[in-house]
Symmetry: C2
C-alpha cells in the first residue's frame, strides 16, 4: 500500500495508544479492569450480539453488497448486476443484512432501494478493508 488515504490517517487517531492501558470496557458499560483483566466478562448476550454483528460482515456476497452500497443507495436489480449472482441469493442476503440493521430499505415504485443504515457500517467496512490492505 503506497500513500495512506485520508481515511487511514483519520483511523490512526482512534488507534494511538489505545491498547497500552485498558482501564474501562470500550463498550461504554463502565466495567473496570483490575490487574489488566476485567473482573468479569460482559453479559453473554452482549458478546453474542457483537459476534452476530461481525457475522453479518463475514460473507463475500454480503461484503460485495455493502461495498456497492458505500457509493449510495441501489435497487435490488442494480445490486444483483454488480454482485454477479442470482437475484434470489441477493435478496436472501439483503434480508440478513436488514435483520442485522446494516442496511435499510425504502420502496420507490416497483423498486426497493437499499442503503447502508448508518455511518457506523461504513466505518467498520473501511476499517476491515484498511486492515486487510496493510
Amino acid at each position: 500500500m503506497s500513500e495512506p488515504t485520508a481515511l487511514e490517517k483519520e483511523a490512526g487517531k482512534i488507534v494511538e495508544g489505545a491498547c497500552a492501558s485498558l482501564e474501562a470496557c470500550p463498550c461504554g458499560c463502565n466495567r473496570e479492569a483490575t490487574a489488566g483483566l476485567f473482573a468479569e466478562m460482559p453479559d453473554e448476550e452482549l458478546l453474542f450480539d457483537v459476534a452476530d454483528l461481525f457475522k453479518a460482515f463475514s460473507d463475500t456476497t454480503r461484503i460485495k453488497i455493502l461495498f456497492a452500497l458505500m457509493g449510495g443507495g441501489l435497487s435490488v436489480g442494480d445490486i444483483t448486476a454488480v454482485v454477479g449472482c442470482t437475484q434470489s441469493a441477493v435478496s436472501h442476503q439483503l434480508r440478513t443484512l436488514k435483520q442485522a440493521r446494516l442496511v435499510k430499505a425504502t420502496r420507490d415504485g416497483k423498486n426497493v432501494i437499499y442503503a447502508l443504515s448508518d455511518d457506523h457500517v461504513y466505518t467498520m467496512l473501511a476499517q476491515g478493508m484498511t486492515h486487510v490492505c496493510e
Copy 2:
C-alpha cells in the same frame, strides 16, 4: 448508553461525513468512483479476505477470547478459565485467531502467552462493541 466514552468520541471523528460523498475506495487502492458507484468491484481476493477477517470475529467464543486479551496477554490456561469452555475448544479457536493474524503467541516456559497482534484488532473490537451498545 449514558455518557459517551473517550473512545467513542474518538471514533466519532473518523465517521463524520464519511458516507456523504465517496470518491475513492477506502481500502487505499485508489479505485475511483463514477456516479456514486465504483466502476468495478475490488478483486475477488480482497473481498474474500475482508469477509474472512470479519469471520474471525464472528463467534462468541472467539469474541470472549479477544475481549479477555484486550487487557493484555494471557496463557491458554487463563483464557480457558475466563472463557468457560474446554481447553481444546479454546486451543482450536486460538489457532483460528492466529491464522487470521488477530493474535500472536509467545512461549513462556510451559505456558504459551497469547496477545492481540496489533491495535487494529483492538480498534475493530471496540468499534463492534460500540455499535452494538448504541
